[in-house]
């Protein structure tokens, strides 16, 4: 593990991405200690201030400190994305394993996956949130449903390869129970594609949550997430671009470092891909 990490971070860009991500997560987790203001404290006289020594990133349309809001908003944005990635990986792995291993279930399950993937992610997410109702948990649930088919497709493809390998045949010949073959012999060999998918879905979920909240069909506007902050600030953008600029930069920084990290992991764990990607 230590060796793997050292190999991963030999590419400086990957190390940088990991450090940026770590910083973002730490600032969000320690928000109440590192931020100078309460994220909801309004100060009418200090509306739309430019960045200064007292307000690192300036203030929003109600005079609330932007840095504090981005730090606290990061908690929600990161938590939603992390839960989404976790749920989609769980569901997608299960579906993909079943479809890849039990040939009879393959076609029906994959047609449903095809059907869900024939709708653009964001549109499907909008429809799902509309049906479930806008709340934090329902946004997570909708995004899990959107990204599960993507994971299922990747896991199925890898399962199809692994199930034909000799050690699986040997395990079957030994009479080992099917669920045990799946758990002990197949799943461990799928870890690298699953890990890569997890980091990408984490990044996509950050972007998707922001888009949903921006459209007004996601997280309720009174909860500060990076998406609701941009949505709330857009009509004041002509007075002070910061209200839109900085929450967006937080989104970009986080999504970008997650993708660089995912790419690094892919190169490391799957040297065959290095040639083409």
């Amino acid at each position: 593990m230590g060796l793997l990490l050292r190999k991963l971070f030999r590419r400086r860009i990957v190390l940088l991405a990991a450090l940026v991500l770590l910083t973002v997560v730490l600032i969000a987790m320690a928000a109440q200690w590192v931020t100078p203001y309460d994220p909801n404290d309004t100060a009418v006289l200090e509306r739309l201030n430019a960045p200064s020594a007292s307000h690192y990133l300036g203030t929003d349309e109600l005079g609330r400190d932007l840095f504090s809001r981005i730090a606290f908003g990061g908690r929600y944005s990161l938590a939603i994305a992390a839960l989404t990635a976790f749920g989609a990986i769980l569901g997608g792995t299960l579906l993909g394993l079943v479809a890849g291993f039990f040939r009879r279930l393959d076609a029906p399950l994959m047609r449903i996956v095809d059907a869900m993937m024939s709708l653009p992610d964001i549109l499907l997410a909008i429809a799902l949130v509309a049906i479930l109702g806008p709340s934090l948990l329902n946004v997570v649930l909708a995004l899990v449903l959107v990204y599960t088919p993507r994971v299922a497709r990747v896991v199925r493809a890898s399962t199809l390869v692994v199930r034909e390998l000799l050690f699986v045949e040997a395990a079957r010949a030994l009479g080992i129970a099917t669920w045990r073959i799946l758990w002990r012999h197949i799943l461990p060999n799928l870890l690298s594609p699953i890990l890569v998918q997890a980091s990408f879905i984490f990044a996509y979920a950050i972007l998707a949550e922001a888009a949903l909240s921006f459209l007004g069909v996601g997280v309720p506007p009174e909860i500060p997430t990076w998406g609701t902050m941009v949505a709330g600030g857009q009509q004041y953008a002509h007075q002070s671009l910061g209200v839109v600029l900085y929450p967006g930069l937080a989104i970009i920084l986080t999504a970008l470092s997650l993708q660089v990290l995912g790419d690094g992991v892919r190169d490391l764990l799957d040297p065959r891909l290095k040639k083409s990607m």
Binding site: I13, R111, I112, D114, A115, M116, S118, L119, P120, D121, I122, L123, I126, A127, L128, A130, I131, L132, G133, A203, L207, A210, A211, F214, L215, G216, V217, G227, V230, Q234, A237, H238, L241, V244, L245, G248, I251, I252, A255, L256, Q259, V260, D263, K275, S276, M277
Partner: protein, 313 residues
């Protein structure tokens, strides 16, 4: 060939049938009742019951589904509950801005993505390749609404080069329309070029390692004729696929950008329908968008044969 076409068509219909079931089940599982939204607080139970009968909402769900399928088979997507017109008509009215936007955006994405991908593959590992690869990843990390708002602030509000939002007067000429579409298409084009850069680069890298490329070099051809004539032509299949998929996904995926720039497209129709629980519009729009996606996929498959004569079905 014919057998292949028939089986592909059957597969398409199957996927669309599953989409229809999913869409129907999802919209009926929704919380909130469109009739009470439509009639407001003053409506009596009798009023609601009467309108429910009018839209067939009082019948059992399987019956409603079969009725819907029968209408679908006749090309009827039903009537919008709020817009007081057929769903198909509402979609057709919104089709122009979305189609123009998608085509313009994909053109921009292709013009950026394919050359950058080729250069990245040819100069693999060098600084220019790393720059393009990093830009591609950056493009996949920027929220479209954010880039839209920032560009709007810069080029429409501050510099005044482009209109801030909307789609012009009803009688506006095509040139005026395009003026409204420049900024949104730029946003979508820039962001979607990321995927095209990655696919072009990967596909070119595969091909550049082939024997016939080495032969072409060995017989003394210059590097660029080799790249553009021998390699690119063989790398086209995945590139065409990703461009086709981008078009297909853009039709419904442009919803956020359409909203930012106030374009009266399919995306904003769906968002409004969702906010008002206008089931027939949600169902119809999702189904049509899925159908467009599936059909474009099919057309891309057919295009393979034109691009690459080795592909035979």
């Amino acid at each position: 060939m014919l057998r292949y076409l028939a089986s592909r068509l059957a597969g398409m219909l199957l996927v669309l049938a599953i989409v229809a079931v999913l869409v129907f089940v999802l919209t009926r599982a929704a919380s909130g009742d469109p009739i009470s939204v439509l009639l407001g607080d003053q409506a009596t139970a009798a009023d609601i019951a009467r309108v429910q009968v009018q839209y067939g909402l009082d019948r059992p769900l399987p019956v409603q589904f079969l009725y819907w399928l029968k209408e679908l088979a006749q090309g009827n997507l039903g009537d919008s509950i709020f817009l007081q017109r057929p769903v198909l008509q509402a979609l057709a009215e919104r089709a122009e801005p979305t189609t123009l936007l998608s085509l313009l955006a994909v053109a921009i994405a292709t013009v950026i993505g394919v050359p950058c991908g080729i250069v990245g593959a040819v100069f693999r590992g060098r600084v220019i390749d790393q720059v393009f690869t990093s830009l591609a990843m950056l493009g996949a990390s920027i929220p479209s609404f954010w880039l839209g708002l920032v560009l709007m602030q810069l080029f429409a509000v501050s510099l005044g080069w482009f209109p801030v939002s909307g789609y012009g007067d009803p009688g506006a000429t095509l040139a005026e329309r395009l003026h409204y579409l420049v900024l949104p298409a730029t946003v979508l084009g820039l962001l979607n070029s990321a995927l095209i850069i990655r696919f072009t680069r990967a596909s070119m890298l595969d091909v550049l390692g082939e024997d016939y490329v080495r032969t072409a070099r060995a017989k003394g051809l210059g590097e660029w004729p080799v790249v553009l004539k021998h390699a690119l032509r063989n790398a086209l299949v995945p590139i065409v696929t990703v461009i086709g998929l981008t078009v297909a996904l853009m039709i419904g995926g442009a919803v956020v950008t359409e909203t930012v720039f106030g374009l009266p497209g399919v995306g904003s129709l769906v968002v409004n329908a969702v906010l008002r629980r206008d089931y027939p519009v949600i169902q119809g729009a999702l189904l049509v968008i899925a159908a467009i996606y599936v059909v474009i996929n099919f057309l891309v498959d057919l295009l393979y044969m034109a691009v690459d004569p080795r592909v035979k079905y």
